[in-house]
Symmetry: C2
DNA sequence: CGCTTAATTGAGAGCCTTCAATCATCGTGG
DNA sequence: CCACGATGATTGAAGGCTCTCAATTAAGCG
C-alpha cells in the first residue's frame, strides 16, 4: 500500500519554507517548532483524495499543486466549494451537514494540521495570527461571492465569473489577452458552478462565438476582453459606478435612523 | 437627519459586556480599550441598512437583534449570504465583485469596526485571537454548506435544510416538536435560498401536507420531525452512516499513494 | 372593521438538465 | 512516428423544475 516513488519531508528546511511563505516568519521561531510538531506532510497524486480525518476540522497548507475542496450533495452530484493552489491555506470542515473531501487536481504536496491545535498555537503568535486574519476572511468573502453566483446568476454569468476569477489566480497575461492553463476539467468547472458539463460547454461556446474567448485543447482558454467578461459576470465594475446595471447598494438611502453615536458617551443603559 | 428616539453608548459597561460575551475577557484588559477606540455603536431599526463604509472590510458585533447580510446580483435580485443574531460576529466584505449590505430584520444594536484595525488588535491578544479562530472558520463552513445547497439541491431540500438550520439557532423545543419564530419574511427566505417567494410557499406547502411542519401566521413554523426534515434536506445523518443515501465520502478508497510521511525525517529536498 | 401588505395558489414560459450521439484530444503501444 | 483506443468535450433534442405573471386569500395593524 505504500509506493516507493516520491519523497516528502516535514524536515526543518521544508518547514521553514512553509512558515516563511505562509506567515513571513524567520526560521527558528517557537511557533514554527510547535506547528511542526502537529504537522503531517502528505503527497497526493493527481486525482487522489487527501487522507483526511473526517471527525475533526483540519487545516491544510498547499506547498505546491492544486486541489478542489468538495462535498457530496444529493443524487451523487458533487459541489466543489473552492479551488486551491500552491501557497494557499485551506480550512476543511469535519463531517457536519455535508461530508467534504480534498482531491488533488495535479500532483500536490501539502501539510495537514488538526484545526484546533493549529489555531491554538497560531493564537499565541501575533504574526501568525495576523496572517490568518488576512486569509480567513478572504476565504469567507470568496465563498460569499460564490454563494451569490450559485443562488442568483445565470449559467453564462457563472462561467464568465469563473473565467475572471481564474484569470486572477492562474492567468498569464500576454499583451491585452490573458491565457488560462486550467488544471481542472469541464466536470470540475460544472461541479464548482452548480452546472452540468454540457451547460459549461454550451456557455463557453456562446462566449467563443462572441469573440470574447478562445479554447485551445482541453485545458487552455484565452481571454480577449476581461472587462467585457467582468460585465457579463454581473460583477461590480469600477467603470460602471454611475449608470450601473449591477448597481452598488446605495447606503445613502439607508435612512439616517441608523445613527452613529458618540463612541465616548460614558456609561449608559 | 438624526432622530431623537433611542440611545446607544459605547460606554465602558456596554463595552465590557461585549468583550466578555464575545471573547470571555475580564473587564479592564488592554485589548478591550484598544477595540473600544475603533468601535462605532449603531442602532439600526427594523428594515434599515447598517451604515457601512463600502471601501473597507468591516466587522460587526451584534449586541442584540437579527440581521441579513446580502448582495445585489443580476436583474435586481438579492442574495442573502447569511443571517445573524445577537452575539454573532459578522465579517462584511468591502465592495469587490459584489456590493454587500447589512439590513436589520428587527431592531438591532451593533458595534462596527474597520476589519483591518480590528484584526490587528485581535492578533495581539491570544484570548481574542483564539475566540476568532473559532468563529471565522465556523462562518466559513456555514457558507460552504450554503454553497452546496445553492449549487446542488432542489427547492425542497433547501427549505428543509433552512428549517433544520434555523431550529438550531432560534428554535424553541416543546416536547418532541420545535417551534420557530422566524424574524424573516418569505422573501428573505427565498433570497437566502436562491428561490422565489412562490417556490418557498409551495415547498412549505408540500412539507405541511406531509405532516412534517405546521405554519401559524406569517412568522411561526412548528417542526414535528427534525430527523425527517434532516433527511429531506439531504444532510448527513448520524443514523444513516450505513446505507446512506447522502453518503459520506469514503476516504478509505482514496488510494494509499496519498502517503503519510514521517514528520521527523530531518532535512530533505 | 377596513385597509395594506404578505402569503398562497394556479397556469404558462424559460432555462438548465437529462439522455443520446458525435467529435476531439491525448496518452499508449505498435 | 503514426495509429488506435479511451476518455473528455461538444452538440442536439426532449423533458422537468423553478420562475414569471396573475389572481386570490390571509394576516396584521391602525
Amino acid at each position: 500500500m505504500r509506493y516507493a516513488s516520491e519523497q516528502l519531508h516535514t524536515g526543518a528546511a521544508n518547514f521553514d519554507r512553509f512558515t516563511r511563505s505562509a506567515f513571513g516568519l524567520e526560521p527558528g521561531e517557537d511557533v514554527g517548532r510547535q506547528l511542526k510538531s502537529i504537522a503531517q506532510a502528505v503527497a497526493v497524486p493527481r486525482g487522489k483524495f487527501a487522507p483526511l480525518d473526517r471527525e475533526l476540522d483540519q487545516v491544510a497548507y498547499l506547498a505546491g499543486g492544486a486541489t478542489k475542496l468538495w462535498a457530496r450533495a444529493s443524487k451523487g452530484r458533487e459541489q466543489i466549494v473552492a479551488f486551491h493552489f500552491g501557497g494557499d491555506i485551506v480550512s476543511i470542515p469535519a463531517d457536519g451537514v455535508h461530508s467534504y473531501a480534498v482531491t488533488a487536481l495535479v500532483d500536490t504536496e501539502m501539510l495537514l494540521f488538526p484545526a484546533r491545535e493549529f489555531f491554538d498555537r497560531a493564537a499565541e503568535n501575533s504574526v501568525v495570527a495576523r496572517a490568518l486574519f488576512d486569509r480567513l476572511p478572504a476565504a469567507l468573502h470568496r465563498c460569499r461571492d460564490k454563494a451569490v453566483a450559485l443562488g442568483r446568476k445565470s449559467a453564462l454569468e457563472r462561467i464568465a465569473g469563473f473565467l475572471v476569477a481564474m484569470s486572477k489566480r492562474v492567468g498569464r497575461p500576454e499583451g491585452n489577452r490573458c491565457v488560462l492553463e486550467l488544471p481542472m476539467s469541464r466536470r470540475d468547472i460544472g461541479d464548482s458552478l452548480g452546472l452540468t458539463i454540457e451547460t459549461v460547454s454550451r456557455q463557453l461556446g456562446v462566449l467563443r462565438e462572441e469573440g470574447l474567448i478562445e479554447t485551445q485543447g482541453r485545458s487552455c482558454i484565452v481571454l480577449f476582453d476581461l472587462d467585457a467578461l467582468t460585465r457579463r459576470a454581473g460583477h461590480l465594475c469600477p467603470s460602471e459606478d454611475f449608470h450601473a446595471p449591477t448597481s452598488k447598494i446605495d447606503l445613502d438611502q439607508c435612512d439616517a435612523r441608523a445613527r452613529r453615536l458618540a463612541p465616548d458617551s460614558t456609561e449608559g443603559n
